[in-house]
Amino acid sequence: MRGFFAVFKKELHSYLTSPIAYVLAAVFLVLMGFLFRNLVMQFNAFCLTYFSQAARFGGQLPELNLNRIVVESFFGLLGFISLFMIPMLTMRLYAEEKKLGTFELLTTSPISNLQTILGKFTACFVLYAGTVGLTLVMMGLLDAYGEPDWGPIGSSYLGVLLLGASFIAVGILASSLTENQIVAVAISFGALLLFWLMGWASQFASGGLRKVMEYLSIIDHMEDFYKGVIDTKDVLFYLSFTFFSLFLTAVVLESRKWRGVR
């Protein structure tokens, strides 16, 4: 337990004393702010169009739902930007240790690989959650000038955090495979994009393969969260995705013992 906290503290400290975390968070927030502004303007334009049409031709107004148009798209885009940002956060976690030789210090210390993996994972997750948490300001603005439904917003945040956890776990796995940070980014980004596109790819498959591909599609499990539904199945999907990746990381780290590498 103590080893876990030590690694967690070290990683968080390292993020917060290096410019990487700040630059990534700033880029992330600027992009999200920009997208948020566009979504709100788009919503505004829809409203104006429909109102003027209704005034001119009469009849029922179509349902203009702030959640449907702004919130759902907002979180969809947030997930997409995370896909780019998280590999850059996780790339150094093991690759840098190997390059600096500090990996030798960790391996010859009486702490388990599990403790270091979880320590690193948690530090990265806390940073991600903190950055995502700052977008609450935008939701607050929405609430100040409109009447969004907070239920789906809450479940979307939960979904996005679960999605982020899966991304981080894959990133850590990729980082454990190499001592080159660029290679780590390439592997994690490639793997995540593969899972991201799985839903689309499943349309061109049939039978059991299609079912498997549909299930593995990492964004399709987000749909319910956006709509305000927390389905145990989806939560389990992200949790098992995360734990499986972290488990594989442990296997990679342990494998040094029987692979006979230097």
């Binding site: 080893g3 030590a6 600096l100 500090t102 010859t108 040094r256 013992k257 006979g260 590498v261 230097r262």
Partner: protein, 314 residues
């Protein structure tokens, strides 16, 4: 304190072992010099003892615990300074020592006091708040030694601790290591000879993955001081060869070391002043025996070292 038995390590699919059948013991409180040229297998052996990776064959025990079976108990008792000190450049010295104390499991109540002690001993008092990335090479090495000492380990394993330091820093680090004798068991690897004679009580010389000699630095030199030693291997009756060898002028002593299928190995000692190799060779041959090998065995530790670590036939 440390018992290493028959350690063999293959890397990947390489058919040539990095180390083969390495066996030695280190008693409590002893400083053992682990001497060999670069690539001899020093680091490999040390990494096995510290539990960084397992051996392909053989066992290593620290304080009675097997490295493979009880890695955690071993790791708690071993302080390790790898060849490249494992340092996080973005941490302060104090933060780093704190981190190491935590992952090594040093008692929390002792932590502050212990870090203070180690810092003082390694001369780090003034740089405790400095980020490691900004430290000079000498200071970085000292932080490396400090991280190996911080959890008060019984065993200290130092891989080339003076490499890349300026002469003044080298002296400082050596004195630091010497001051640890008695209370701690130390293995110190190096490819610099004077370092061994200055700091170590006993030397294990390793070359091409094999232990080639083991003794105190004094014994290794004193045993051979003033005496030139020549190794002779010949085929024929043992008494006959010995008799011929003894008849060569300036030969002081002939020892029969062993024999196999009619070949016999002798160690011939002569005075230092004369090189009698030519006479030895010609008298063995003219005596009607077949001379298979004749080579000098070095005199000073340095000679032995060169002898043992240069290519065969040199």
């Amino acid at each position: 304190m440390i018992e290493v038995e028959g350690l063999t390590k293959y890397y990947g699919r390489s058919p040539v072992p990095a180390i083969e059948d390495v066996t030695f013991r280190v008693e409590k409180g002893e400083i053992l010099g682990f001497l060999g040229p670069n690539g001899a297998g020093k680091t490999t052996t040390m990494r096995i003892i510290t539990g960084y990776f397992p051996p392909s064959r053989g066992t290593a025990r620290v304080a009675g615990y097997d490295v493979m079976e009880n890695p955690t108990e071993v790791k708690k008792r071993v302080g390790y300074l790898p060849e490249h000190p494992p340092l996080y450049n973005d941490m302060t010295v104090e933060g780093f020592l704190n981190f190491v104390a935590d992952i090594k499991g040093l008692d929390r109540s002792k932590k502050k006091l212990r870090i203070g002690e180690v810092a003082e001993r390694c001369g780090l008092d003034e740089v405790m708040d400095v980020r490691i990335g900004k430290l000079s090479k000498g200071y970085r090495q000292r932080v490396g030694v400090a991280q190996a000492l911080v959890h008060d380990p019984e065993v200290l394993i130092l891989d080339e601790p003076t490499i890349g330091l300026d002469p003044k820093q080298v002296v400082e680090v050596r004195n630091l290591i010497k001051s640890l004798a008695g209370e701690r068991t130390v293995i110190l690897s190096t490819h610099i000879l004077p370092e061994v004679s200055m700091t170590c009580g006993r030397v294990v010389i390793i070359n091409k993955g094999r232990v080639v000699a083991e003794d105190t630095p004094e014994n290794l030199t004193a045993r051979l001081r003033g005496v030139r030693t020549i190794f002779v291997e010949a085929r024929g009756p043992a008494d006959g060869i010995e008799k011929v060898l003894r008849e060569v002028p300036d030969v002081k002593e002939v020892r029969h070391e062993g024999s196999e299928d009619g070949t016999h190995r002798f160690v011939v000692e002569s005075t230092l002043e004369k090189d009698i190799r030519a006479q030895l060779a010609s008298s063995v041959v003219s005596g009607g025996f077949q001379l298979l090998e004749l080579r000098p065995v070095g005199m000073s530790l340095e000679d032995i070292f060169l002898q043992l670590t240069t290519e065969e036939g040199a």
